[in-house]
């Protein structure tokens, strides 16, 4: 066994870190350019976005793009997405917590079958059910309504929500519930007074996951909201490209930056929960 001095060891760990940092720098070179380009575009004047060859540093800097975002249509997109996300969080938690609870504590073959069924169904490609939902909704008054949108979003994320909450409930010792039952607590009281406070971190992670899912989803808003006043933030982004005329790129870039801020701040503030919630199911993107 050779004896190494601290200095040699430091040098050794430095050399060993070289491939890792080479990989990190390569990743940065692949990940960052389009992002930097969007931030740069968002700070340009209308004519500045149409310069070629393009400048990376805007000259002059301009807040034109951001100021131009303040239209009633754009504000409506943000409000809609907030309503859809908020509504889905409330509805999904209200229906998934009881289901996750009984599925964990009252196991039976039929319950397992039901849970497997829910999981399998939640993996069905969204587009498969959307064409039927669209043709059903479009014939009735159900299309372009907040409740329907919220129910569809909720259904899509329910499978993962239940799976994630079950893991949390499983970690609660049954003895606490048994003691409460002996003291005369009913099942609903146990759920409300004992389980609910104990799974608060799980609820927070799920709420974050649902918010980000709904906020980032493009397809539901595209298919099931046919009028402009019901569309979402993500539809707003793409709208600039599909219906844009003149120099809309500055507005488009500013819109992307503003739409990304909520997700980015939630990620930075709650990194650990964020990652936990997002990987619990992992299928839906």
């Amino acid at each position: 066994m050779s004896i190494t001095t601290p200095r040699q060891r430091r040098l050794g760990s430095f050399i060993r870190a070289v491939p890792a940092w080479a990989y990190i720098i390569l990743s940065a070179a692949v990940v960052l350019p389009p992002v930097a380009w969007i931030v740069s575009t968002s700070l340009k004047t209308g004519s500045g976005t149409l310069e070629f060859p393009p400048r990376w540093i805007p000259a002059p800097f301009s807040s034109e793009g951001y100021v131009g975002l303040l239209t009633s249509t754009n504000i409506r997109f943000f409000v809609n997405s907030l309503i859809y996300a908020g509504g889905s969080i409330v509805l999904a938690l209200a229906i998934c917590i009881p289901a996750a609870y009984v599925a964990t504590r009252y196991r039976s073959r039929r319950m397992e079958t039901l849970m497997t069924g829910i999981l399998v169904l939640s993996m069905v490609p969204a587009i498969v059910v959307f064409i039927a939902l669209y043709s059903m909704f479009v014939k009735t008054a159900l299309i372009n309504t907040y409740p329907m949108m919220i129910i569809v979003y909720t259904a899509i994320i329910c499978g993962q929500t239940i799976l994630f909450l079950r893991n949390f409930i499983e970690n609660i010792p049954v003895e606490i519930e048994e003691a409460a039952a002996i003291d005369g607590c009913s099942r609903i009281q146990i759920l409300w007074r004992i389980i609910l406070p104990l799974i608060r971190p799980g609820i927070a992670a799920v709420a974050i996951f649902i918010f980000v899912f709904v906020w980032n989803d493009f397809l539901v808003g595209t298919v099931l909201a046919t009028t402009e006043d019901m569309k979402t933030v993500q539809n707003g982004i793409v709208r600039y490209i599909t219906t844009g005329f003149g120099s809309f790129w500055g507005l488009f870039a500013a819109f992307i930056v503003v739409a990304f801020i909520p997700v980015l701040s939630i990620f930075l503030a709650f990194q650990r929960w964020f990652v936990a919630g997002m990987t619990s199911g992992g299928v839906k993107g």
């Binding site: 399998v120 939640s122 669209y134 299928v283």
Partner: protein
């Protein structure tokens, strides 16, 4: 009553998944004009689907798109996870960097690349032009468009693989690595003899998760190429969308959707089989 607790969830799933699936099967068995269901037509729309000369090329596109994105996202995700797991400094910053594409929505990921690759004003075009090539008009020719949407999808999705791998890597007992280090094993040795065998189940479940994601991917393709040019980026999912909202062919879209559903069932069965070992 225990079943009362699962009643609301079951009702929502019946309404959003079971009902529409039955409805889709029903419309596939009928003639439709616009969104009106006409008379019963048996398996006609399936015959139409499988005799369509475009179908083999759509299946081929789906395969190239899904496997192409998988072949990039899987190693990138694994490598990112390993690098991150062995990193001691700047861990949070590097993790944020690796996760950045995935934090964005699919619509954002698609459109920012669209703008970056814009043939008239984009920086990519400036680079290729200064190197003596033409502008980066990638979305106007079939092959380059398919390559572009595949790469963009891999770019957006590799962090998801990374997170799943990262979770699994953290379950490898530290003693195992230590004992190998004592025996004088190098990094390669450690990777082949410890990390890979440990990750075997995870790799399978990541493959399934990613394939399901790619097979049902609509958004990134929809916001960039809409399946064009001349159908070169139209995967099965995209075809369902286009038949429904472009050609207003409800029964045709339903038949394609049923085919897509069958593909998905196979992937789901594999997923369920490996779910017990890893949290999928």
């Amino acid at each position: 009553m225990v079943w009362l607790y699962v009643l609301p969830v079951s009702a929502v799933f019946l309404f959003v998944f079971v009902g529409p699936l039955i409805y889709t099967a029903w419309t596939a068995l009928h003639e439709t004009s616009y969104y009106q269901i006409g008379k019963f037509s048996g398996l006609n729309s399936f015959v139409r689907l499988f005799s369509d000369s475009d179908l083999p090329s759509r299946i081929w596109t789906t395969l190239v798109f899904s496997l192409g994105a998988l072949v990039i996202a899987l190693p990138a995700g694994l490598l990112s996870a390993i690098v991150l797991n062995n990193l001691h400094r700047f861990k949070r910053s590097v993790r944020s960097l690796f996760l950045l594409p995935w934090l964005m929505s699919q619509a954002t990921a698609g459109t920012i690349w669209l703008w970056f690759l814009n043939p008239n004003y984009g920086p990519a075009s400036a680079i290729t032009k200064s190197l003596g090539f033409g502008p980066t008009d990638v979305f106007s020719t079939p092959t380059s468009a398919l390559v572009a949407v595949t790469l963009m999808t891999a770019w957006w999705s590799y962090p998801q693989a990374m997170l799943l791998f990262l979770g699994a890597l953290q379950t490898i007992p530290e003693e195992l690595r230590e004992s190998l280090k004592m025996d004088g094993g190098g990094i390669r040795h450690q990777f082949v003899n410890i990390t890979l065998p440990y990750l075997r189940n995870t790799i399978v479940s990541v493959v399934v998760v990613l394939l399901m994601l790619y097979v049902q991917m609509v958004t990134i393709i929809l916001v960039t190429t809409r399946g064009g040019p001349i159908g070169s980026t139209e995967t099965l999912s995209m075809r369902v969308y286009n038949q429904m909202f472009d050609k207003f062919d409800l029964s045709g879209a339903s038949a394609t959707a049923i085919l897509l559903f069958a593909v998905n069932i196979v992937l789901t069965l594999v997923a369920i089989r490996f779910r017990r070992k890893e949290s999928l």
